[in-house]
């Protein structure tokens, strides 16, 4: 009876914007996870834009040059760089999740290490492809 009453008691919830932003600190694996989600949502929206560019680039030589010129604009470059990061991070984090789901890398030091590897690899691949594009 006591435990049931305790379970039904309304507990205070310490979850507000300030707490979320400044006080609750995510572990590295949490960052990998939430960035996986954010990058995925971003790519869902951005596919419209990417398909537009693929469409134009394959339409004709003139349109291809238009896309090339368009991709040279700084805001466009920055937006594309963000999407390249989203793809690379999503890719690396996804591989980590596949390994975790097949019961690899469960102990804390390994999980922490693979989190760092994913975060760094995402940025490193972004730098590589970013440098290749410009």
């Amino acid at each position: 009876m006591m435990s049931l009453a305790a379970a039904n008691k309304k507990r205070p919830k310490y979850l507000n914007l300030t707490a979320l932003l400044f006080e609750i600190r995510l572990p590295l694996a949490g960052w990998v996870s939430i960035l996986h989600r954010i990058s995925g949502a971003l790519m869902f929206v951005a596919t419209l834009w990417l398909l537009f560019m693929l469409d134009r680039s394959l339409a004709s030589a003139r349109e291809f040059e238009f896309v090339r010129h368009y991709l040279g604009l700084v805001p466009v470059k920055l937006a594309l760089l963000v999407l390249i990061w989203a793809y690379c991070h999503h890719f690396c984090a996804g591989i980590r999740f596949l390994l975790l789901e097949t019961q690899r890398g469960w102990d804390k030091p390994t999980a922490r290490l693979t989190s760092i590897i994913v975060l760094v690899a995402g940025l490193a691949l972004t730098a590589l492809f970013g440098a290749k594009l410009w």
Binding site: F44, S57, L58, E65, F91, I95
Partner: protein
């Protein structure tokens, strides 16, 4: 198992597995495309058009696009299930996502076989 709701997941592991299988397909395509682009001739219109004119590239890109569409639907649905609680709003957004993903896929087919 008593609280099944119409806009939930389908309570099996098929979607979960489909998301993993499509992920592997996309990863393979990504590695192949990255190799072709990084190791091949510098991209100009001719190289770009010829790449997408080849049958294997069109089929591979179609398989990639189908994988993206399927993976995307499951992923965005999971996000909606976590953050959007009212059933009517969630259903409306899910329909919107399905239409968007189907539209992306149709557009891709149109681009590949114009």
């Amino acid at each position: 198992m008593v609280s099944r709701i119409v806009v939930g997941a389908h309570y099996g592991w098929r979607d979960w597995l489909a998301q993993r299988v499509t992920a592997v397909i996309m990863a393979a395509y990504t590695v192949i495309l990255a190799a072709v682009l990084l190791l091949g001739a510098p991209i100009n219109y001719g190289v770009w058009r010829d790449l997408f004119a080849q049958g294997w590239m069109r089929v591979a890109t179609l398989l990639f696009a189908v994988s993206v569409a399927w993976h995307m639907w499951i992923g965005v649905r999971d996000i909606l299930m976590d953050y959007v609680k009212p059933v009517a709003l969630r259903l409306a957004l899910q329909v919107f996502v399905i239409l968007t993903v189907a539209g992306y896929l149709g557009w891709t087919v149109q681009i590949l076989w114009r």
